[in-house]
Protein backbone atom coordinates (compact mmCIF):
# COMPACT_ATOMS: atom_id res chain seq x y z
CA UNK A 1 0.00 0.00 0.00
CA UNK A 2 1.10 3.53 -0.49
CA UNK A 3 3.18 5.35 2.09
CA UNK A 4 2.65 8.85 0.86
CA UNK A 5 5.70 10.92 0.07
CA UNK A 6 8.38 11.13 2.77
CA UNK A 7 11.86 12.56 3.02
CA UNK A 8 15.00 10.60 3.75
CA UNK A 9 18.30 12.20 4.64
CA UNK A 10 20.99 10.27 2.79
CA UNK A 11 24.66 11.21 2.61
CA UNK A 12 23.87 14.65 3.90
CA UNK A 13 21.17 15.40 1.34
CA UNK A 14 17.40 15.34 1.67
CA UNK A 15 15.69 13.05 -0.80
CA UNK A 16 11.97 13.05 -1.31
CA UNK A 17 10.56 9.60 -1.86
CA UNK A 18 7.34 9.88 -3.85
CA UNK A 19 5.04 6.99 -4.80
CA UNK A 20 6.50 4.65 -2.22
CA UNK A 21 4.98 1.40 -1.09
CA UNK A 22 4.93 1.12 2.68
CA UNK A 23 6.58 -2.31 2.72
CA UNK A 24 9.72 -1.18 0.90
CA UNK A 25 13.00 -1.63 2.67
CA UNK A 26 15.61 1.11 2.87
CA UNK A 27 17.75 -1.01 0.56
CA UNK A 28 15.01 -1.07 -2.04
CA UNK A 29 14.35 2.65 -1.81
CA UNK A 30 18.03 3.54 -2.01
CA UNK A 31 18.54 1.37 -5.05
CA UNK A 32 15.31 1.68 -6.97
CA UNK A 33 13.92 5.06 -6.01
CA UNK A 34 16.84 7.25 -5.03
CA UNK A 35 19.32 6.19 -7.72
CA UNK A 36 21.85 4.95 -5.17
CA UNK A 37 22.54 1.35 -6.25
CA UNK A 38 25.88 1.12 -4.43
CA UNK A 39 24.35 -0.88 -1.56
CA UNK A 40 23.84 -4.46 -2.76
CA UNK A 41 21.23 -7.14 -2.34
CA UNK A 42 22.63 -10.64 -1.97
CA UNK A 43 20.16 -12.21 0.44
CA UNK A 44 17.56 -9.68 1.63
CA UNK A 45 17.42 -11.26 5.07
CA UNK A 46 20.32 -9.85 7.01
CA UNK A 47 22.62 -12.80 6.51
CA UNK A 48 25.26 -11.38 4.18
CA UNK A 49 25.91 -7.72 5.00
CA UNK A 50 26.18 -6.61 1.39
CA UNK A 51 23.44 -4.04 2.01
CA UNK A 52 25.17 -2.52 5.05
CA UNK A 53 24.76 1.20 5.61
CA UNK A 54 25.17 3.50 8.61
CA UNK A 55 22.02 4.87 10.21
CA UNK A 56 22.83 7.56 12.75
CA UNK A 57 26.38 6.25 12.70
CA UNK A 58 25.45 2.64 13.46
CA UNK A 59 26.10 -0.20 11.08
CA UNK A 60 22.87 -1.93 10.03
CA UNK A 61 21.53 -4.03 7.19
CA UNK A 62 19.47 -1.70 5.04
CA UNK A 63 17.38 -4.64 3.83
CA UNK A 64 16.03 -4.91 7.36
CA UNK A 65 15.17 -1.23 7.74
CA UNK A 66 11.71 -0.14 6.71
CA UNK A 67 12.48 2.86 4.53
CA UNK A 68 9.55 4.94 5.72
CA UNK A 69 10.64 4.36 9.32
CA UNK A 70 14.08 5.85 8.63
CA UNK A 71 12.63 9.34 8.39
CA UNK A 72 14.56 11.71 10.62
CA UNK A 73 17.67 9.53 10.68
CA UNK A 74 21.02 10.21 9.00
CA UNK A 75 21.75 7.50 6.48
CA UNK A 76 25.22 7.06 5.06
CA UNK A 77 25.81 4.75 2.13
CA UNK A 78 28.87 3.76 0.14
CA UNK A 79 28.19 6.69 -2.15
CA UNK A 80 28.63 9.00 0.82
CA UNK A 81 32.00 7.72 1.98
CA UNK A 82 34.14 9.54 -0.56
CA UNK A 83 33.95 13.29 -0.38
CA UNK A 84 33.82 14.95 -3.76
CA UNK A 85 35.19 12.15 -5.88
CA UNK A 86 38.28 11.53 -3.76
CA UNK A 87 38.58 8.09 -2.26
CA UNK A 88 38.08 7.66 1.46
CA UNK A 89 40.89 6.00 3.40
CA UNK A 90 39.07 2.68 3.56
CA UNK A 91 38.42 2.73 -0.17
CA UNK A 92 42.04 3.46 -1.01
CA UNK A 93 43.14 0.72 1.32
CA UNK A 94 40.90 -1.90 -0.29
CA UNK A 95 42.23 -1.11 -3.76
CA UNK A 96 45.83 -1.07 -2.58
CA UNK A 97 45.60 -4.33 -0.65
CA UNK A 98 43.99 -6.29 -3.47
CA UNK A 99 40.90 -6.78 -1.31
CA UNK A 100 38.49 -6.37 -4.22
CA UNK A 101 37.72 -9.25 -6.56
CA UNK A 102 34.17 -9.44 -7.83
CA UNK A 103 33.35 -6.48 -5.62
CA UNK A 104 29.81 -7.42 -4.66
CA UNK A 105 30.58 -7.56 -0.93
CA UNK A 106 32.81 -4.49 -1.14
CA UNK A 107 30.37 -1.65 -0.44
CA UNK A 108 28.94 -3.38 2.63
CA UNK A 109 32.40 -4.29 3.86
CA UNK A 110 33.63 -0.75 3.43
CA UNK A 111 30.77 0.50 5.58
CA UNK A 112 31.62 -2.08 8.23
CA UNK A 113 35.31 -1.19 8.20
CA UNK A 114 34.58 2.52 8.26
CA UNK A 115 32.37 1.97 11.28
CA UNK A 116 35.03 -0.16 12.99
CA UNK A 117 37.67 2.50 12.55
CA UNK A 118 35.28 5.21 13.71
CA UNK A 119 34.63 3.24 16.88
CA UNK A 120 38.25 2.55 17.75
CA UNK A 121 39.72 4.67 20.50
CA UNK A 122 42.01 7.41 19.20
CA UNK A 123 45.57 6.32 18.60
CA UNK A 124 44.34 2.81 19.28
CA UNK A 125 47.11 1.04 17.39
CA UNK A 126 46.61 -1.58 14.76
CA UNK A 127 43.24 -3.16 15.50
CA UNK A 128 43.59 -6.70 16.84
CA UNK A 129 42.95 -9.48 14.32
CA UNK A 130 40.05 -10.98 16.29
CA UNK A 131 38.41 -7.61 16.79
CA UNK A 132 38.56 -6.92 13.07
CA UNK A 133 37.22 -10.37 12.20
CA UNK A 134 34.34 -9.95 14.61
CA UNK A 135 33.59 -6.49 13.25
CA UNK A 136 33.29 -7.86 9.72
CA UNK A 137 31.73 -11.18 10.70
CA UNK A 138 28.42 -9.96 9.33
CA UNK A 139 29.84 -9.42 5.85
CA UNK A 140 30.18 -12.51 3.70
CA UNK A 141 32.84 -12.56 1.03
CA UNK A 142 33.00 -15.52 -1.30
CA UNK A 143 35.96 -14.47 -3.40
CA UNK A 144 38.78 -13.37 -1.11
CA UNK A 145 38.86 -15.60 1.96
CA UNK A 146 39.20 -12.32 3.93
CA UNK A 147 43.01 -12.31 3.87
CA UNK A 148 43.51 -9.21 1.73
CA UNK A 149 40.56 -7.58 3.47
CA UNK A 150 42.35 -7.84 6.81
CA UNK A 151 45.41 -6.34 5.20
CA UNK A 152 43.24 -3.51 3.88
CA UNK A 153 41.91 -2.82 7.36
CA UNK A 154 45.45 -2.54 8.64
CA UNK A 155 46.34 -0.09 5.88
CA UNK A 156 43.17 1.90 6.49
CA UNK A 157 43.82 2.08 10.22
CA UNK A 158 47.23 3.53 9.44
CA UNK A 159 45.74 6.10 7.12
CA UNK A 160 43.09 7.08 9.61
CA UNK A 161 45.61 7.55 12.39
CA UNK A 162 47.52 9.83 10.04
CA UNK A 163 50.57 7.60 10.00
CA UNK A 164 50.47 7.52 6.25
CA UNK A 165 49.26 9.82 3.55
Amino acid sequence: MSAGPYVLRVNGNDHEVPDAHLGESLLWVLRERLGLPGSKNACEEGECGSCSVQVDGELVCSCLVLAAAAVGREVTTIEGLAPDGELADVQRAFVEAGAVQCGFCTPGLLMAVDTLLDDLPDGGGDPDDLIVREAISGNLCRCTGYGRILEAVSIAADLRRGNRT
Binding site: G46, G49, E58, L59, V60, L64, L66, A69, A112, S137
Partner: protein, 281 residues
Protein backbone atom coordinates in the same frame (compact mmCIF):
# COMPACT_ATOMS: atom_id res chain seq x y z
CA UNK B 1 2.25 4.25 9.63
CA UNK B 2 2.79 5.80 13.02
CA UNK B 3 6.22 6.80 14.20
CA UNK B 4 5.65 6.78 17.95
CA UNK B 5 7.58 9.26 20.09
CA UNK B 6 6.19 8.17 23.42
CA UNK B 7 4.75 5.04 24.92
CA UNK B 8 1.40 6.74 24.94
CA UNK B 9 1.67 7.43 21.20
CA UNK B 10 2.35 3.79 20.62
CA UNK B 11 -0.52 2.59 22.79
CA UNK B 12 -2.93 5.02 21.18
CA UNK B 13 -1.91 3.91 17.72
CA UNK B 14 -2.33 0.28 18.69
CA UNK B 15 -5.77 0.99 20.10
CA UNK B 16 -6.76 2.52 16.79
CA UNK B 17 -5.13 -0.24 14.75
CA UNK B 18 -5.22 -3.42 16.83
CA UNK B 19 -3.77 -5.51 14.00
CA UNK B 20 -0.89 -3.14 13.39
CA UNK B 21 2.64 -4.50 13.13
CA UNK B 22 5.06 -3.29 15.76
CA UNK B 23 8.46 -2.39 14.37
CA UNK B 24 11.59 -1.78 16.36
CA UNK B 25 14.79 -3.32 14.96
CA UNK B 26 13.00 -5.17 12.19
CA UNK B 27 15.49 -8.02 12.08
CA UNK B 28 12.76 -10.67 12.05
CA UNK B 29 9.77 -8.72 10.74
CA UNK B 30 11.48 -7.27 7.69
CA UNK B 31 12.53 -10.71 6.46
CA UNK B 32 8.89 -11.65 6.09
CA UNK B 33 7.96 -8.27 4.63
CA UNK B 34 10.74 -8.50 2.05
CA UNK B 35 9.44 -11.90 0.96
CA UNK B 36 5.93 -10.54 0.58
CA UNK B 37 4.73 -13.02 3.21
CA UNK B 38 3.55 -10.47 5.72
CA UNK B 39 0.47 -8.48 4.89
CA UNK B 40 -0.36 -5.45 6.98
CA UNK B 41 -2.53 -2.37 7.14
CA UNK B 42 -0.58 -0.34 9.61
CA UNK B 43 2.85 -0.20 11.16
CA UNK B 44 3.65 1.35 14.51
CA UNK B 45 7.31 2.23 14.66
CA UNK B 46 8.62 2.18 18.21
CA UNK B 47 12.37 2.49 17.87
CA UNK B 48 12.32 6.10 19.05
CA UNK B 49 10.21 5.68 22.14
CA UNK B 50 12.44 6.78 25.01
CA UNK B 51 10.51 4.84 27.61
CA UNK B 52 11.40 1.63 25.82
CA UNK B 53 15.08 2.33 25.53
CA UNK B 54 17.85 1.70 27.98
CA UNK B 55 17.59 0.10 31.40
CA UNK B 56 17.47 1.11 35.03
CA UNK B 57 18.03 -0.41 38.42
CA UNK B 58 15.19 -0.56 40.88
CA UNK B 59 16.53 -1.96 44.14
CA UNK B 60 17.64 -5.49 43.45
CA UNK B 61 15.89 -5.66 40.13
CA UNK B 62 16.89 -4.46 36.72
CA UNK B 63 14.24 -3.12 34.41
CA UNK B 64 15.39 -3.67 30.83
CA UNK B 65 13.59 -1.64 28.21
CA UNK B 66 12.11 -3.68 25.37
CA UNK B 67 14.05 -1.48 22.99
CA UNK B 68 17.40 -2.48 24.44
CA UNK B 69 19.52 -3.66 21.51
CA UNK B 70 21.91 -6.59 21.59
CA UNK B 71 24.82 -4.19 21.20
CA UNK B 72 23.62 -2.25 24.23
CA UNK B 73 23.39 -5.45 26.26
CA UNK B 74 27.13 -5.73 25.86
CA UNK B 75 28.01 -2.17 26.91
CA UNK B 76 28.49 -0.25 30.09
CA UNK B 77 27.50 -1.88 33.35
CA UNK B 78 25.18 -4.49 31.89
CA UNK B 79 27.85 -7.12 31.22
CA UNK B 80 28.82 -6.86 34.89
CA UNK B 81 25.26 -7.06 36.18
CA UNK B 82 23.98 -9.58 33.66
CA UNK B 83 26.97 -11.43 32.22
CA UNK B 84 24.84 -14.22 30.74
CA UNK B 85 22.72 -11.74 28.83
CA UNK B 86 25.77 -9.95 27.47
CA UNK B 87 27.31 -13.27 26.43
CA UNK B 88 24.09 -14.31 24.72
CA UNK B 89 23.78 -10.98 22.95
CA UNK B 90 27.26 -11.33 21.53
CA UNK B 91 26.28 -14.55 19.79
CA UNK B 92 23.32 -13.03 17.98
CA UNK B 93 23.75 -12.63 14.26
CA UNK B 94 26.27 -10.05 13.29
CA UNK B 95 27.24 -6.52 14.36
CA UNK B 96 24.59 -5.22 11.96
CA UNK B 97 21.91 -7.38 13.54
CA UNK B 98 23.08 -6.59 17.06
CA UNK B 99 22.82 -2.86 16.45
CA UNK B 100 19.18 -3.14 15.41
CA UNK B 101 17.68 -6.20 17.09
CA UNK B 102 16.06 -5.76 20.48
CA UNK B 103 15.19 -7.65 23.62
CA UNK B 104 11.52 -6.98 22.98
CA UNK B 105 11.87 -8.31 19.46
CA UNK B 106 13.51 -11.51 20.67
CA UNK B 107 10.59 -12.00 23.05
CA UNK B 108 7.92 -11.09 20.54
CA UNK B 109 9.30 -13.47 17.94
CA UNK B 110 9.30 -16.24 20.57
CA UNK B 111 11.50 -18.49 18.52
CA UNK B 112 12.66 -21.69 20.21
CA UNK B 113 16.16 -20.56 19.24
CA UNK B 114 15.85 -17.02 20.60
CA UNK B 115 19.21 -16.34 22.19
CA UNK B 116 18.13 -14.20 25.16
CA UNK B 117 15.29 -16.51 26.13
CA UNK B 118 17.28 -19.16 28.03
CA UNK B 119 18.89 -16.36 30.02
CA UNK B 120 15.56 -14.77 30.82
CA UNK B 121 14.22 -18.18 31.78
CA UNK B 122 17.11 -18.77 34.14
CA UNK B 123 16.58 -15.35 35.68
CA UNK B 124 12.86 -15.93 36.21
CA UNK B 125 12.23 -12.85 34.15
CA UNK B 126 8.95 -11.02 34.20
CA UNK B 127 7.64 -9.53 31.00
CA UNK B 128 5.92 -6.19 31.35
CA UNK B 129 3.16 -5.63 28.82
CA UNK B 130 1.46 -2.35 28.12
CA UNK B 131 -1.57 -1.18 26.22
CA UNK B 132 -3.92 1.77 26.36
CA UNK B 133 -5.85 -0.27 28.94
CA UNK B 134 -2.94 -0.45 31.34
CA UNK B 135 -0.08 -2.70 32.31
CA UNK B 136 0.21 -6.35 33.12
CA UNK B 137 3.12 -8.59 33.98
CA UNK B 138 3.69 -12.17 33.02
CA UNK B 139 6.36 -14.61 34.05
CA UNK B 140 8.42 -15.65 31.06
CA UNK B 141 7.02 -19.16 31.02
CA UNK B 142 3.55 -17.65 30.77
CA UNK B 143 4.60 -15.28 28.06
CA UNK B 144 6.23 -17.64 25.58
CA UNK B 145 3.60 -20.28 24.95
CA UNK B 146 4.75 -22.23 21.91
CA UNK B 147 6.85 -22.14 18.79
CA UNK B 148 6.67 -18.49 17.71
CA UNK B 149 3.64 -18.05 19.96
CA UNK B 150 3.20 -15.80 22.93
CA UNK B 151 0.58 -14.26 25.16
CA UNK B 152 0.57 -10.80 23.63
CA UNK B 153 -2.99 -9.57 23.30
CA UNK B 154 -4.11 -7.29 20.47
CA UNK B 155 -3.16 -3.67 21.20
CA UNK B 156 -0.39 -4.79 23.57
CA UNK B 157 3.29 -4.15 23.29
CA UNK B 158 6.21 -5.35 25.38
CA UNK B 159 7.38 -2.48 27.53
CA UNK B 160 10.14 -4.00 29.58
CA UNK B 161 11.58 -7.10 31.19
CA UNK B 162 12.30 -7.31 34.92
CA UNK B 163 15.15 -9.47 36.12
CA UNK B 164 16.81 -9.82 39.50
CA UNK B 165 20.31 -8.66 40.26
CA UNK B 166 21.98 -11.77 41.59
CA UNK B 167 25.28 -12.27 43.26
CA UNK B 168 27.08 -15.12 41.59
CA UNK B 169 28.65 -16.31 38.34
CA UNK B 170 26.64 -16.52 35.13
CA UNK B 171 27.37 -18.48 31.99
CA UNK B 172 25.81 -18.62 28.55
CA UNK B 173 26.95 -21.25 26.05
CA UNK B 174 25.61 -21.70 22.54
CA UNK B 175 26.36 -24.41 20.01
CA UNK B 176 26.45 -23.37 16.38
CA UNK B 177 28.22 -24.81 13.37
CA UNK B 178 29.76 -21.48 12.42
CA UNK B 179 31.46 -18.80 14.49
CA UNK B 180 29.16 -15.94 13.51
CA UNK B 181 25.65 -15.41 12.18
CA UNK B 182 24.50 -18.78 13.37
CA UNK B 183 21.16 -19.95 14.73
CA UNK B 184 21.56 -21.84 17.95
CA UNK B 185 21.55 -25.63 17.74
CA UNK B 186 21.46 -25.87 21.52
CA UNK B 187 22.07 -23.25 24.18
CA UNK B 188 22.24 -23.06 27.93
CA UNK B 189 22.19 -20.27 30.48
CA UNK B 190 23.36 -20.95 34.02
CA UNK B 191 22.83 -18.37 36.71
CA UNK B 192 23.96 -18.66 40.32
CA UNK B 193 22.15 -17.03 43.20
CA UNK B 194 24.66 -17.30 46.01
CA UNK B 195 22.46 -15.63 48.55
CA UNK B 196 19.62 -17.96 47.73
CA UNK B 197 22.01 -20.90 47.36
CA UNK B 198 20.49 -21.91 44.09
CA UNK B 199 21.50 -22.54 40.54
CA UNK B 200 19.08 -21.87 37.72
CA UNK B 201 19.45 -23.34 34.26
CA UNK B 202 17.62 -22.20 31.13
CA UNK B 203 17.79 -24.23 27.92
CA UNK B 204 17.30 -23.04 24.36
CA UNK B 205 16.65 -24.77 21.02
CA UNK B 206 15.88 -28.08 22.71
CA UNK B 207 12.14 -27.64 23.14
CA UNK B 208 9.34 -25.60 21.59
CA UNK B 209 9.85 -22.99 24.30
CA UNK B 210 12.73 -22.10 26.63
CA UNK B 211 12.79 -24.57 29.49
CA UNK B 212 14.19 -24.69 33.00
CA UNK B 213 15.99 -27.83 34.03
CA UNK B 214 14.10 -27.96 37.29
CA UNK B 215 15.16 -31.38 38.51
CA UNK B 216 18.77 -30.67 37.70
CA UNK B 217 18.57 -27.44 39.63
CA UNK B 218 17.02 -29.07 42.67
CA UNK B 219 19.63 -31.80 42.66
CA UNK B 220 22.65 -29.59 42.27
CA UNK B 221 21.49 -27.01 44.80
CA UNK B 222 21.93 -29.74 47.37
CA UNK B 223 25.20 -31.06 45.99
CA UNK B 224 27.11 -27.80 45.96
CA UNK B 225 29.28 -26.85 48.88
CA UNK B 226 28.13 -23.27 49.07
CA UNK B 227 30.71 -22.25 51.58
CA UNK B 228 33.64 -23.17 49.35
CA UNK B 229 31.87 -22.71 46.03
CA UNK B 230 32.72 -26.21 44.90
CA UNK B 231 30.97 -29.33 43.69
CA UNK B 232 32.23 -32.91 43.22
CA UNK B 233 32.69 -34.50 39.79
CA UNK B 234 30.05 -37.15 40.38
CA UNK B 235 27.49 -34.45 41.03
CA UNK B 236 28.48 -32.65 37.87
CA UNK B 237 27.90 -35.88 35.95
CA UNK B 238 24.46 -36.34 37.45
CA UNK B 239 23.60 -32.69 36.90
CA UNK B 240 24.58 -33.01 33.26
CA UNK B 241 22.36 -36.07 32.85
CA UNK B 242 19.39 -34.39 34.49
CA UNK B 243 19.75 -31.34 32.26
CA UNK B 244 19.78 -33.55 29.18
CA UNK B 245 16.61 -35.22 30.40
CA UNK B 246 14.89 -31.85 30.67
CA UNK B 247 15.41 -31.28 26.97
CA UNK B 248 12.77 -32.31 24.39
CA UNK B 249 14.67 -31.66 21.15
CA UNK B 250 13.68 -32.41 17.57
CA UNK B 251 15.48 -33.28 14.36
CA UNK B 252 15.73 -30.42 11.89
CA UNK B 253 18.13 -29.15 9.24
CA UNK B 254 20.35 -27.63 11.93
CA UNK B 255 20.79 -30.72 14.07
CA UNK B 256 19.37 -33.99 15.27
CA UNK B 257 17.56 -34.62 18.53
CA UNK B 258 20.29 -37.04 19.55
CA UNK B 259 23.00 -34.47 19.00
CA UNK B 260 21.07 -31.77 20.84
CA UNK B 261 20.48 -33.98 23.85
CA UNK B 262 24.14 -34.89 23.94
CA UNK B 263 25.25 -31.29 23.44
CA UNK B 264 23.02 -29.84 26.14
CA UNK B 265 24.53 -32.29 28.61
CA UNK B 266 28.02 -31.18 27.64
CA UNK B 267 27.05 -27.52 27.99
CA UNK B 268 25.58 -28.20 31.42
CA UNK B 269 28.75 -29.87 32.64
CA UNK B 270 30.98 -27.10 31.36
CA UNK B 271 28.81 -24.26 32.61
CA UNK B 272 28.63 -25.73 36.08
CA UNK B 273 32.36 -26.36 36.21
CA UNK B 274 33.06 -22.76 35.25
CA UNK B 275 30.86 -21.59 38.11
CA UNK B 276 32.08 -24.05 40.73
CA UNK B 277 35.48 -25.57 41.34
CA UNK B 278 36.14 -29.24 41.83
CA UNK B 279 35.76 -30.48 45.36
CA UNK B 280 36.59 -33.80 46.95
CA UNK B 281 34.06 -36.52 46.05
Amino acid sequence: MTIARTLEDACTALAEHPDALLLAGGTDLMVGINRGQVGFDHVVVIDRVDELRGWRREGDELVLGAGLTYSEMGRGELPVLLPALAQAARTVGSPQIRNAGTLGGNLATSSPAGDTLPVLAALDATVVLRSSHGTRQLALDRFVTGVKQNALEPEELIEAVRVPVLDGPQEFLKVGTRNAMVISVASLALVVDRAGRSVRVGLGSVAPVPVRAVEAEAFVDGAIDWDTGSVPDAAVDRFSGLVAEAARPIDDQRGTAAYRSHAIGVLARRALRRAFSESAP
